[in-house]
């Protein structure tokens, strides 16, 4: 009997946060539509109201245990603009070091801990061994590299901020403590090992790409715009600069956009079936204004990295496709190039003669009642926007988290993968895993982006036109 149905994957596994995927089948058993539902809700924007803005960086850091540093930085930048101060140059550089360390550890987590099982064992592997422990058994060195690289980034964060998760070191006006010579030297000493790991992982990854041709051509391989912050010379940066948007051919759509004016060109839309907002480029409307952010987007947007090894790899990366690199599978590749960049850039910054300066904080009262802070988090562009009253208490908050920018693209990617790999009313683990794996490419952080509540189960349901659940695969 032919009938329409829906497949539900709930929860989506090996991602950060809680979500499910529904696949709607038509009467021929082909996938008609697909939705990526983010099923958790947090509400940070609301619970901050009434708090002194000086608390915001630390409050906002609690959004995420993986990338608290990005929230610290975006929040502190928003607070800097409430103070209307220019922070001391050394504070600016120290914040950059902090951010680069975090991008490195977060990218390592995404690639090694969450996605390396797919890359090492293939998409059809036994789900029971598709985890970091399975990787450690099969390829001990790869797993250890991942753990070491994450440790490398976390240690830098600890040396600067006093602890690895949720350090309170980034404050409105700068940072609270200067960098000591001993810590600077210790970080410098840890760079060569991290660089060696980044280099050999990149080589290994490139070697595996051949096995994933089918995935590369179907994992979110569609034309879209890409957005990212670049430096004045259009080079890669994570801390700040101007926003640039390119189209699928890497032609510039918009340049020199001021991130603090995001509201002029970024629209936000709420769908009834997900707690995650979808953003779109206003001039093109919804949903045509779809764009992607994060590693893939940053490397499509940037002309250069500004460090020797990363620049070599970027040139090679741009050769992957004549147009912009469109397949979301290449997020993994981009992530590895960014790790390389971060380590090289860390060395440049740590060797800066100013880096040990004791002047690291500007002190002021609130001089503006509204402030926006933007930076590039590991997963893409992050905006924090605050309004305060005359006493410095928060009155209104808006957050746009990287994963929100990618929401439309993730939905399209899931649909593309499902159309290609899922047929009929029966589900195989390989199908299921590919639908999840495309989500993993984006490394979404749902707890960040929805502000999390609840458990993290992945369920795929196959739903008939009558609304009957034909098949269901669930992971507890």
């Amino acid at each position: 009997m032919k009938q329409e149905s829906t497949i539900v994957i709930d929860p989506v596994t090996r991602i950060e946060g809680h979500s499910k995927i529904t696949l709607h089948l038509n009467e021929d058993g082909r996938v008609e539509d697909a939705r990526f539902h983010v099923t958790q809700f947090r509400g940070f924007e609301k619970l901050c109201e009434g708090r002194p803005f000086y608390e915001m960086p630390s409050l906002m850091a609690r959004i995420c245990g993986i990338c608290p540093v990005s929230h610290l930085i975006a929040s502190a930048k928003a607070c800097d603009s409430l103070l209307a101060v220019r922070i001391p140059p050394t504070a600016d550089k120290l914040r950059r070091i902090f951010g680069l360390a975090q991008v490195t550890q977060s990218h390592a987590l995404s690639l090694f801990h969450l996605s390396s099982p797919d890359l090492l064992f293939g998409m059809d592997a036994d789900p029971a061994k598709s985890n970091i422990f399975g990787v450690a058994e099969a390829n001990r060195e790869l797993a250890l590299d991942g753990i070491r690289l994450r440790q490398f980034g976390q240690k830098i964060i600890e040396r600067l901020g006093g602890k690895r998760i949720h350090p309170a070191w980034v404050v409105p006006g700068g940072v609270s403590e200067p960098l000591s010579e001993a810590n600077r030297d210790a970080i410098l000493q840890s760079l060569p090992e991290a660089l060696a790991i980044a280099e050999r992982t990149l080589e290994w990854f490139k070697g595996t790409m051949e096995r994933f041709r089918e995935e590369i051509s179907t994992f979110g391989n569609f034309p879209s715009m890409f957005m990212g912050i670049v430096k004045k010379d259009n080079g890669l940066t994570f801390y700040g600069g101007k926003l640039r948007i390119v189209d699928a051919s890497r032609h510039v759509v918009a340049d020199d956009l001021d991130p603090t004016q995001y509201d002029d060109y970024i629209g936000e839309k709420v769908e009834p079936w997900s707690y995650l907002k979808s953003t779109y480029y206003k001039p093109k409307g919804f949903p045509d204004g779809v764009y992607r952010v994060g590693p893939l987007a940053r490397l499509n947007v940037a002309d250069r990295c500004g460090t020797p090894r990363a620049d070599q790899e970027l040139a090679e990366f741009h050769e992957l496709q004549r147009t912009a690199v469109l397949s979301s599978f290449h997020y993994h590749h981009a992530r590895l190039i960014e790790i390389l960049y971060c380590i090289e850039r860390l060395e440049q910054l740590l060797n800066d003669p100013e880096i040990l300066s004791k002047q690291v904080r500007a002190v002021a009262r609130p001089n503006a009642l509204e402030g926006v802070g933007a930076c590039e988090a590991p997963r893409g562009t992050l905006f924090h926007h605050y309004k305060i009253d005359e006493h410095g208490l928060i009155r209104w908050v808006n957050l746009i988290i990287a994963t929100g920018h990618n929401n439309l693209a993730m939905n399209r990617s899931v649909l593309q993968v499902a159309k290609h790999f899922v047929h009929g009313s029966r589900l195989t683990p390989g199908m299921l895993n590919r639908v999840e794996a495309v989500i993993r490419c984006y490394d979404p952080c749902l707890s960040c982006s929805t502000h999390a509540w609840g458990q993290m189960p992945l369920r795929i349901q196959l739903i008939s036109p009558k609304g009957e659940v034909l098949d269901e695969v669930a992971r507890a």
């Binding site: 009434g50 708090r51 002194p52 000086y54 608390e55 960086p57 630390s58 409050l59 609690r62 949720h166 309170a168 404050v171 409105p172 609270s176 002190v363 009262r365 006493h391 410095g392 208490l393």
Partner: protein, 239 residues
């Protein structure tokens, strides 16, 4: 005429100790290095027995008595650290945590808070009572200081230091029981208080992050309390 002895001898935790007759059990315990927890008592301010954390057992009495306001007596046998007392103290602290919104991780006093330190010392790892999550105000209208009622435990140190040491009596308590809160003047915004001298003593005696200096970020509010005993001593000498 019978001479009243000025020195009393007593036992605390089995140790033979002595104190002057006007001294409290807490004074004598402190002089002899015996730890008795407290949050409202402070050297240099009058004692009110508000927090009940310094409750001790006295042989021959069924009631537990607060060490900060109980004068020493001849022949007293005091226990400061029984299991029963420890349980009560933990319970009192847990209730303080549930009463308002104490979120250490994002508090200006994180790492420098008397209540947090005490909770750690008493081995509190969980709170066994449901939290109340009341909606409390933050008054940031003062030019230099902020009061966050979410973190106030009603110890009234601010009220006493303002009245007894500064002489301004800006702070007081209004309401009863669970409705009680500290206020400035006649429950006006602190920033428009006509009596406040902006001396900051209240901020520095506050045991938690309820009172803090503006512009302090998380964990940055260090309180300096050494001034108080010196200040009172100097005044006495001048008298």
């Amino acid at each position: 005429m019978r001479q009243v002895p000025t020195v009393k001898t007593l036992k605390i935790n089995g140790r033979d100790l002595s104190g002057r007759q006007e001294e409290t059990i807490l004074d004598v315990a402190r002089q002899n290095g015996i730890f008795v927890p407290r949050l409202c008592e402070m050297d240099g301010l009058t004692d009110v027995g508000a927090c009940r954390l310094c409750l001790v057992e006295i042989k021959g009495q069924n009631k537990l008595l607060p060490a900060c306001v109980t004068a020493v007596e001849e022949g007293m046998e005091v226990t400061t650290d029984s299991e029963r007392l420890q349980n009560y103290r933990r319970m009192i602290l847990e209730l303080l945590f549930t009463e308002r919104n104490h979120v250490c991780s994002v508090c200006v006093s994180n790492g420098h808070c008397e209540m947090q330190n005490l909770a750690q010392r008493l081995g509190i790892t969980h709170v066994h009572f449901p939290y109340r999550y009341p909606k409390e105000d933050v008054d940031a209208s003062h030019e230099r200081f902020v009061i966050d009622h979410n973190r106030c435990i009603l110890c009234t140190r601010c009220v006493r230091v303002c009245d007894e040491i500064e002489g301004a009596h800006t702070w007081d308590v209004m309401g009863r029981g669970i409705e009680a809160k500290v206020i400035t003047d006649l429950n006006e915004p602190w920033g428009s208080s006509e009596t406040c001298t902006t001396c900051g003593k209240c901020v520095h005696v506050c045991p938690t992050g309820a009172l803090f200096e503006k512009g302090r970020s998380v964990a940055e509010m260090m309180k300096r309390r050494q001034f108080l005993p010196y200040l009172t001593l100097m005044r006495k000498e001048n008298e």
